[in-house]
């Protein structure tokens, strides 16, 4: 378990190097990593390209190539992600019926449990575990938010000060 999260943390560090919000994720099936990714929102200019969404895409592609029914396949997927999935990702993972989600640190800005508990809207829910290597995950986020988002337009407040 810890090893899977360590791998997710490595991916999150990669994101940080690439000036992306440092979140990493691995999908595990029968003890094997079957998808791994990190945030790539800035590179794709698509704010929904979170680590989890990228992993979902990988799994669907894999299933299609190998003629596997992804509905069945997702039911055995365990998700390891460094930061609690946001409302969007939590909903996507619920729709896909993944078995379990384990996260590092909580997400108090967008969390699908912390900010809005989306499990209330669904009949099915995955098992959710938190706080695995949370400090490491949080340290990466803090490092990122010390800097500025290179793609965001300059804030109006800053402009006026000039």
């Amino acid at each position: 378990m810890v090893d899977f999260m360590r791998r997710a943390l490595e991916l999150a560090s990669e994101a940080l190097t690439a000036q992306e919000v440092p979140v990493g994720c691995v999908f595990v099936h029968n003890e094997n990593i079957v998808a791994e990714s990190r945030n790539c929102v800035n590179a794709t200019r698509n704010p929904t390209r979170h680590a989890e969404i990228n992993c979902i895409d990988t799994v669907i592609e894999y299933c299609k190539l190998n003629n596997i029914d992804y509905n069945t396949y997702f039911k055995d997927i365990l998700v390891y992600v460094t930061v609690e999935p946001c409302i969007m990702c939590a909903a996507a993972l619920t729709n896909l019926n993944v078995k379990e989600v384990t996260y590092g640190c909580a997400n108090d800005r967008f969390g699908g449990k912390t900010v809005l508990d989306i499990s209330e809207f669904y009949k099915n829910n995955y098992i959710l575990n938190g706080n695995l290597l949370a400090d490491e995950a949080m340290a990466l986020l803090k490092q990122f938010y010390k800097g500025v988002n290179p793609n965001a337009p300059e804030s109006k407040v800053k402009k006026e000060k000039r």
Binding site: N46, P47, T48, C86, A91, L96, D108, F110, P153
Partner: protein
């Protein structure tokens, strides 16, 4: 004639007519749209019990105010005026000691001794516990007590069901009609029926930059092929494509540059059918490519409107928050999964960093 003996194509043609009728109704109705707002604006304001005292001498009232405001401040009840004619609001009944039960007279003697003989009699009444948010609530509240209320003009307009000017309404209805046209156009490729559009869960989207009345991207659901490729998620990606980004290669024959949000064939069809609007995004200038970013350069869906056949699910709605969409318009409620009206109202979650406005009521 039974269904089995109907000639093939007849059913499809009937469905075609149904969609065309829906488009016709959407585009020609004069009915204004409805904003989907926080439930708090529609709720009755709960009441709380308070003590009031009838002043013996009306000339004393202003002095009584001063003393009361200093010694028994109303704190979180600032929406309540201290007096109504000769009746003075003293305090909520819960201010009184419950361990050693006391009367309001005893309470005054202990806390505001100088006013202990100023009242003819006391009464327990119910007054609004919370400040009214909109005029309608204010009018209800005023029946109980005098209320301080400063209406938010914009909010009053939003809640009035008379929000859009006629010329804007025509545009919103046109773009929603276009969303149905998009779904209709794609139904052969995407393997759903026209009935799915009206009754199923198939969605389609039209993204518009209202500043220049220009359609930036159009998409249709691909959820049967790919479970997270719902219309809104695809729309966000198609917008990314107009900004030199994008992740999904879903468009077979996509345009380029500012027209990258369209399938070429689709674009031709729309240009023919809806000639009165513009097509394409504004030119994207990246901060990476250009040290001085143009004021006008688009950023995600900032400032954009999205028109959807049906209320988006939780995933899509949050995607639209991440994309900083300005307004979301939808036609049909999504009772089982809708996140803007039916199951929850994501636009009202204060903790989030972006809040779009939501409108419905096309039919």
């Amino acid at each position: 004639m039974s269904e089995a003996t109907e000639p093939p194509g007849k059913k499809a043609k009937m469905a075609d007519t149904i969609i065309d009728n829906v488009i016709e109704n959407i585009m020609h109705s004069k009915k204004n749209l409805t904003a989907v707002l926080d439930d708090d604006f529609y709720k009755e304001i709960p009441l709380i019990k308070v003590y009031i005292g009838h002043a013996k001498d009306p000339k004393e009232i202003s002095r009584m105010f001063q003393v009361l405001n200093e010694k028994v401040p109303l704190k979180e009840f600032h929406h309540l005026k201290r007096a109504r004619k000769r009746e003075i609001l003293l305090c909520p009944t819960v201010f009184l000691d419950t361990v050693m039960p006391q009367s309001i007279q005893e309470f005054l003697e202990q806390n505001v001794d100088e006013l202990k003989d100023c009242f003819e009699y006391f009464k327990e009444i119910e007054v609004p516990h919370k400040p009214p948010l909109v005029r309608k609530q204010y009018l209800e509240c005023s029946k109980h007590w005098s209320i301080n209320f400063h209406p938010n003009k914009y909010l009053e307009k939003l809640i009035s069901d008379d929000f859009f000017k006629n010329e804007d309404l025509i545009d919103h209805r046109l773009f929603m009609g276009m969303a149905f046209e998009v779904a209709k156009w794609y139904q052969n490729d995407k393997k759903f029926t026209l009935e799915d559009i009206v009754k199923g869960n198939i969605n389609a989207a039209v993204v518009v930059d209202p500043k220049n009345r220009s359609v930036v991207a159009v998409v249709c659901d691909n959820r049967y092929e790919h479970p997270i490729q719902h219309a809104a998620m695809l729309a966000i990606d198609n917008v990314a494509k107009t900004q030199k980004g994008g992740a999904w290669s879903t468009v077979v024959d996509s345009g380029t540059g500012t027209l990258a949000g369209f399938d070429k064939g689709m674009l031709m069809h729309l240009k023919n059918k809806f000639r009165e609007v513009n097509y394409g995004a504004k030119m994207f200038v990246s901060k990476r490519d250009d040290a001085i970013q143009s004021e006008d350069s688009p950023y995600l869906c900032t400032g954009y409107y999205i028109y959807l056949l049906r209320e988006p699910c939780v995933m899509c709605a949050m995607g639209l928050v991440h994309a900083r969409t300005k307004r979301v318009f939808f036609c049909y409620d999504n009772l089982s999964n809708g996140a803007l009206k039916s199951k929850t109202k994501l636009q009202c979650v204060e903790a989030l960093n972006h809040h779009f406005e939501v409108f419905t009521g096309f039919l």
